[in-house]
């Protein structure tokens, strides 16, 4: 019997409405007790002093690219989940744009087997919407669900054909599986490599307009309402999309949404400018789809996250090798590595007074769980909470600790971040997954 007692931390559990000093006791991989002094009552425990720190349920990421199988040079299930552990994550949902794509029972089972063998934290696979992610034929949703997928997505690409998307949504209602769409109309973003606007004009790059996302968000909401399906909008990036989603939810449509830490905090200026507007650069580490947008978009996204129009923060952790990024801008792979910086970067909103810490934690924990009903999956009851009996998943956080991002020190194989050398305020001190300490820093004090 193993017991971990976390003493005297500021426990924030949005699902239970807990927000105060308490101890958290984990016994045999599950939350046993939460309350003041509860830790003193147990004997033979591994003890952690969380005085001055925040104790939260472990984070849940709806959008992680683990790259395995097929792109192990970029990331593996081992390194990706290690990165997750360092970022406070205890559950990650793995996107199916692997090689082969996760479009069959066999592919899902192989990922789950590898996760069982090497993952540091829980991996929940996402299946492809279409065979080979080719946008032509539907995958066997029933077979994929039986194999263990928690949602379906062709992320990286949109399901462009409106009729096929309608049928994917319609068919999914039989299984109550969320259909997670990467909303960018391929025709409108053709040859574009960053947000269409004044920065793209300065750099002479072709743009991906905000409307490329918004037209597809509008289309897919209409299709989801037609057939009564659960549509999930991945990485919302524009103010226009926020307005469409808010209106759809007002009407009672089954539409959920996520936003990334980088779309919340970084603008398209990140691509071109470092210190001034005289000198430019072509920062491929800030190249991502959908692209980083403008100030007004960031503000709308933060407000939507605060108000619950956006349900969850998701990382879209997209590791790439050096050779995928140290090339011409148009040829560079889109995406950035995010698991290890997600908390620190998102904390900017809290430090700027635009989001409360409990709301941020909600959007990192129970928010994503409810979005995809992950706690209804057998074995995952209580996921995203510190309720007695729930999985022993805990993140211990120092919201005020400043640290400098050193990509070379990442656990992730992907060093592709625009945050290298920057200072973030807010750090994950330790992570406990399934009752095991999977990450600890020197700040963690054992008693």
């Amino acid at each position: 019997m193993t017991t971990i007692a976390i003493h005297n931390g500021h426990v924030i559990d949005p699902a239970l409405g807990q927000d105060g000093i308490a101890d958290v006791v984990i016994v045999d991989g599950r939350i046993a007790r939460v309350g003041p002094g509860e830790g003193d009552a147990v004997i033979d425990a591994e003890r952690i002093d969380a005085t001055g720190l925040v104790v939260s349920p472990g984070f849940v990421d709806l959008h992680t690219h683990l790259r395995e199988p097929g792109f192990e040079g970029k990331e593996t299930i081992r390194t990706g989940t290690e990165a997750g552990a360092r970022g406070g994550y205890t559950t990650v949902c793995a996107m199916p744009n692997t090689m082969p794509a996760l479009d069959s029972r066999a592919a899902i089972e192989s990922v789950l087997r590898e996760a069982e063998a090497s993952a540091r934290i829980r991996v929940l696979p996402i299946g492809a919407i279409t065979v080979g992610r080719q946008g032509k034929e539907l995958t066997p949703q029933g077979e994929l669900q039986a194999a263990g997928v928690v949602a379906l997505s062709d992320d990286g690409d949109a399901v462009a054909d409106p009729s096929l998307m309608r049928h994917a949504l319609e068919y999914s209602t039989r299984f109550n599986l969320p259909i997670a769409q990467h909303c960018e109309d391929p025709s409108l973003v053709r040859d574009g490599h960053m947000h269409e606007g004044w920065v793209a004009t300065r750099l002479g790059l072709r743009g991906r307009p905000a409307s490329a996302e918004e037209t597809m968000v509008a289309r897919d909401i209409a299709l989801a309402e037609l057939v009564g399906a659960h549509l999930h909008i991945c990485h919302v990036s524009t103010a226009g999309s926020v307005a469409l989603i808010a209106a759809a939810r007002e009407r009672g449509a089954r539409v959920t949404a996520e936003v990334t830490p980088h779309h919340l905090t970084l603008t398209h200026e990140e691509v071109a400018f470092a210190d001034d507007y005289v000198h430019i650069r072509y920062n491929t580490n800030a190249k991502v789809n959908p692209p980083l947008r403008e100030e007004a978009d960031l503000e709308a996204l933060a407000n939507a996250l605060r108000d619950g129009v956006i349900d969850a923060i998701a990382t879209d952790h997209a590791p790439h090798g050096v050779n995928d990024k140290a090339i011409e801008f148009d040829l560079a792979a889109p995406g950035l590595t995010m698991l290890e910086t997600a908390f620190g970067l998102s904390m900017r909103l809290v430090h700027e007074g635009r989001l409360s810490l409990p709301t941020l934690i909600e959007r990192l924990t129970i928010g994503p769980v409810r979005t995809w009903r992950l706690d209804e999956i057998p074995g995952l009851q209580g996921l995203g909470t510190l309720a007695p009996g729930a999985l022993g998943d805990v993140a211990i956080l120092d919201p005020d600790a400043e640290w400098t991002v050193e990509p070379e020190a990442f656990a992730s194989k992907g060093k592709n971040t625009p945050l290298g050398g920057k200072t973030l305020r807010g750090r994950v001190v330790a992570t406990i997954a399934n009752g095991q300490i999977v990450h600890e820093t020197e700040r963690m004090v054992a008693l």
């Binding site: 004044w198 790059l205 430019i280 072509y282 403008e294 011409e328 801008f329 040829l331």
Partner: protein
């Protein structure tokens, strides 16, 4: 010869302490007025060398220039080759292919390989915007941008400035109208930096589908006002040309019509062709320019391209002089024959 290997490499590499500090020529956005004037003044002297019966001086003997062209080009490549040869440099041209990336030969590898062969300057033409910046951050050779995607063509802009100045006496206060495919034009982008720096009024004219977004000051936040030059946008060519000192027609590629940006070349010519009738609204002593290669009958009427206001051929000759001046400045040499001392300091004085 020169090596600054110990200094950290950045795209904006500068070599402090020299009279000419730029290590690279990537665009005119980071050129001061004084630096532009230095180039233009030196080009005057290079033009004099070029016009000699035997146009050959040994100023760049032992200096190696590699033309690295990832995109076909006749005039720019020939212009650089001639500029180097007139000054006695060793010049070779390499035609590369972006598909070599697939074979594992990255741009960075290629540039480093050329440097290892002791290339002093690499003149680079590439179809992707920003490629010369990638090169510049990975070598201590001088990178000269000979056109990168739709981004920049600084040597063309400098030759345009030089040609305008030599024909009209000055650039400040002149109304310069560029007509055509602004969106895809690296010439327009570099020209607008150089022209506005030198005090010209810049008017960009084209159909709405060929005008890039964000050029109007209201399209960008106040804190970024200086991030793009201050220009005027006009979709009506007759209004644009009114009172112009300089009219520059830009090449229209027929591909634009195929991609749905234009209904037809015929309609384009109807609405945007620079014709004698339209030029009648310009100033009487206006000049007509074109960066070439031109499509007569599409963006420019044949009669005006060959007419008395046209200075298109002079642009081409001046292009050699400008590239001579840039190669010489980047070389760091100060011993141009017939010169009593430092060319650059004299040119600045």
């Amino acid at each position: 010869m020169t090596s600054t290997a110990s200094a950290p490499l950045t795209a904006q590499g500068r070599r402090p302490g020299r009279s000419w500090e730029h290590q690279h020529v990537l665009d005119l956005d980071d050129f001061s007025v004084g630096e532009i004037e230095t180039v233009l003044n030196l080009a005057d002297r290079m033009r004099e060398v070029l016009d000699r019966r035997i146009a050959r001086v040994p100023a760049l003997r032992g200096y190696t220039v590699v033309n690295l062209f990832y995109e076909p080009s006749t005039r720019t490549r020939a212009s650089f080759e001639l500029a180097g040869k007139v000054l006695g440099a060793d010049v070779i041209s390499v035609t590369a292919n972006t598909s070599s990336v697939v074979k594992g030969e990255s741009l960075i590898d290629t540039v480093r390989t050329l440097r290892a062969m002791r290339a002093d300057a690499i003149v680079m033409r590439h179809s992707i915007a920003g490629a010369p910046y990638l090169a510049a951050t990975n070598t201590d050779a001088s990178i000269i941008n000979a056109g990168d995607g739709a981004h920049a063509h600084p040597t063309q802009a400098l030759l345009d400035l030089y040609t305008i100045k030599s024909r009209l006496g000055s650039i400040a206060g002149k109304r310069v109208v560029m007509v055509g495919d602004i969106s895809h034009s690296r010439v327009a982008r570099s020209d607008m930096w150089g022209l506005t720096a030198m005090g010209a009024e810049v008017v960009l004219c084209g159909p709405p589908t060929l005008l890039p977004r964000g050029l109007r000051a209201q399209d960008r936040p106040a804190h970024a006002e200086s991030a793009l030059p201050n220009v005027t946008i006009e979709t009506d060519i007759d209004r644009a040309i009114e009172g112009a000192d300089v009219v520059m027609a830009l090449r229209l590629q027929s591909e634009r019509q195929q991609r749905g940006l234009l209904p037809s070349l015929h309609e384009y010519a109807q609405l945007y062709q620079v014709t004698a009738q339209r030029l009648a609204k310009a100033k009487p002593d206006h000049v007509l320019m074109h960066p070439g290669p031109k499509n007569e009958g599409i963006e420019i009427a044949g009669a005006v391209a060959a007419g008395q206001h046209s200075i298109i051929e002079e642009q081409v000759t001046n292009g050699v002089a400008i590239r001579m001046a840039l190669l010489y400045l980047l070389s760091g040499r100060t011993d141009l024959p017939g010169d009593g001392g430092s060319v650059t300091s004299e040119a600045r004085a």
